[in-house]
Symmetry: C2
Subunit: 347 residues, 2 copies
């Protein structure tokens, strides 16, 4: 049973009111040229009069276009994603598109479930901000490569579109900065190996470390969650590795790392320098004041939408692949005189 307005104005009503046929109304709607100014005006009047709004459902049934877009993220509570989502939604809404945010939890099964369901609902396209093990599944479910653009994490496939940051360059720049500040033993809390942004950042780190003879890096495996940062730092501290600086794979992980440092009574940056990646708002806050690598989140989101819509609209498909530059954001967690740290609680 439908729960929609009991009566809705249809194209037939408009045609009737304007004294024309439905196809003429449809033409006016679709802004077809083959319609006389006078007729068009009459139809428009009727449309306004009746407050007629075409049914996207009926339209979708015949055209196959729903203007429904999906944004796949691994975990919306990771502060990076809300910012990305906001910019994407902002960009998409202008063209009458709706975007659904789906949490994959980096699980292939979750991705498949979401996509299968949405495809059924008539999904037009996908922006995947967290490709990982699910890349093959996504590509095969979607069938048509035009319908997807990857962002944040670069896909393995070379024939699909993506908009990502220069993760290698950003990580290298950050590492070089720490090295030039005198750090020699630097820890890197990595992300999972299936996430290309993580591996690229690791490459950048390793590369930069290799440029300095006596530099010695430590790498911890992890994922993108706060827990991951806690775990790695706890381990390093317990092992007394003699690290003087730590780079976290992203700001969320850095938050976890910072928590442990604080609880252990260590001061930043004197006892330990700490940096993240992403350039989220929370990192910018004086409460964290975390050095990070700006990904220009808003710009990435905007570009991803543009690329996707362009692809959806064109017949011939040429993948667009963009790598945007990053920017180093230096803050108290690595810079400055090393003010007081915080003790076990609020210190």
């Amino acid at each position: 049973m439908g729960r929609r307005a009991s009566w809705r104005v249809t194209i037939v009503d408009v045609a009737h009111a304007a004294g024309v046929s439905v196809s003429t109304v449809s033409r006016v709607l679709r802004e077809h040229v083959d319609v006389q100014a006078e007729t068009r005006a009459r139809v428009q009047a009727a449309i306004n009069e009746l407050d007629y709004r075409p049914s996207p459902i009926a339209r979708a049934l015949v055209s196959g276009e729903t203007r429904l877009l999906a944004l796949l993220v691994s975990d919306i509570t990771n502060p990076f994603y809300p910012q990305l989502a906001k910019s994407i939604e902002h960009e998409a809404v202008g063209t009458g598109h709706t975007v659904v945010i789906c949490n994959t939890g980096d699980q292939v099964a979750e991705t498949s479930r979401h996509l299968t369901r949405l495809l059924g609902q008539g999904l037009d396209g996908v922006i995947h901000a967290a490709v990982g093990l699910d890349e093959a599944a996504v590509l095969s479910l979607l069938g048509d490569y035009r319908r997807v653009v990857f962002t944040n994490r670069q896909p393995m496939s070379t024939s699909v579109s993506y908009v990502v940051s220069d993760n290698f360059g950003g990580a290298a720049e950050l590492t070089r900065h720490l090295l030039s500040s005198g750090h020699r033993r630097i820890g890197f809390i990595c992300g999972p190996s299936y996430a290309r942004n993580a591996t690229e950042r690791l490459r950048g780190f390793t590369h930069a470390m290799g440029e300095v003879a006596d530099a010695e890096g430590a790498v911890a495996q992890g994922e993108f969650s706060k827990n991951s940062g806690e775990r790695a730092v706890t381990k390093w501290l317990d092992e007394s590795r003699g690290l003087t600086a730590i780079i976290a794979i992203n700001d969320a992980v850095a938050l976890g790392a910072m928590e442990v440092l604080i609880q252990r009574g260590l001061r930043m940056p004197t006892d330990m320098a700490l940096a993240g990646f992403d350039g989220t708002e929370v990192a910018a806050s004086p409460v964290m004041s975390l050095t990070s690598v700006d990904q220009h989140i808003e710009e990435i989101g905007r570009q991803a939408v543009r690329v996707l819509l362009k692809q959806l609209g064109s017949e011939k498909y040429v993948p667009t692949q963009e790598v945007l530059p990053t920017r180093l954001l230096l803050r108290d967690s690595t810079e400055g005189p090393g003010r007081l740290g915080r003790g076990p609680g609020r210190a």
Copy 2:
């Protein structure tokens, strides 16, 4: 032009393969009883064989049901909302529903735009987590009260469903705790007057303050953003109001407040106690270690979905109105020996 799979298996194909009519297939699909076990089996076999999946679009056209739900939030980058969104999505996905998150920015125009567009796309129902000035618009656009449930902020209308926290009680409990800790001059950074959760919390504060003779409250107007917290605290500090404790309308505002306190070199809780509201994850982090009032975000989201789905499914409508209890979360920002504060930077 459609960009969907070039060929899709239709109900006609299944009917053909099973040697029955389309209506029979439809009956099997809808789990109608009037179908013989043997026929049903044959149809099922054909469905599996062809991997047939009914088109929700066609279904929507005739039934008016899309399984599309909207979640209205004021700003997804406020950490409260991603947590809420996650629980809502989690709950909704189980019943085959898709939820779209929309940022209203607390602007009536934005709400209307979103709703109008989504209604066109065939929206089934709405969970509004940020009612404000847009309440009338929402109700009139939706027409049917069964199609909406309010959460987080209580609506003005008494004949619609909502699931909210005991904002009054939570704020009162928090205030009483601060009073019992010896605080007498307490500042309250309020939210906008159109947001019922804000006004309820203010009521709770005022009420509790009134119970202690020499207690003196200060109230600052604001919104729900970090900026709001910065502004209020800056002002109070500049005016030397002699406050010893501050309650922020939510954790995001508290974050802004904390930033200023840190930058001014004040220690928590000795120089100034600080508390928030919501019980977000970020507040729990040792980096903030912010006393807050737990709203049981996940539970609220879950309930909101249940209520909405129940309403959508039933013919007769009786609004469900739930007020869930809150829980005080005491952390370093109000408790403890008052360890070192942090200086102008990382202190």
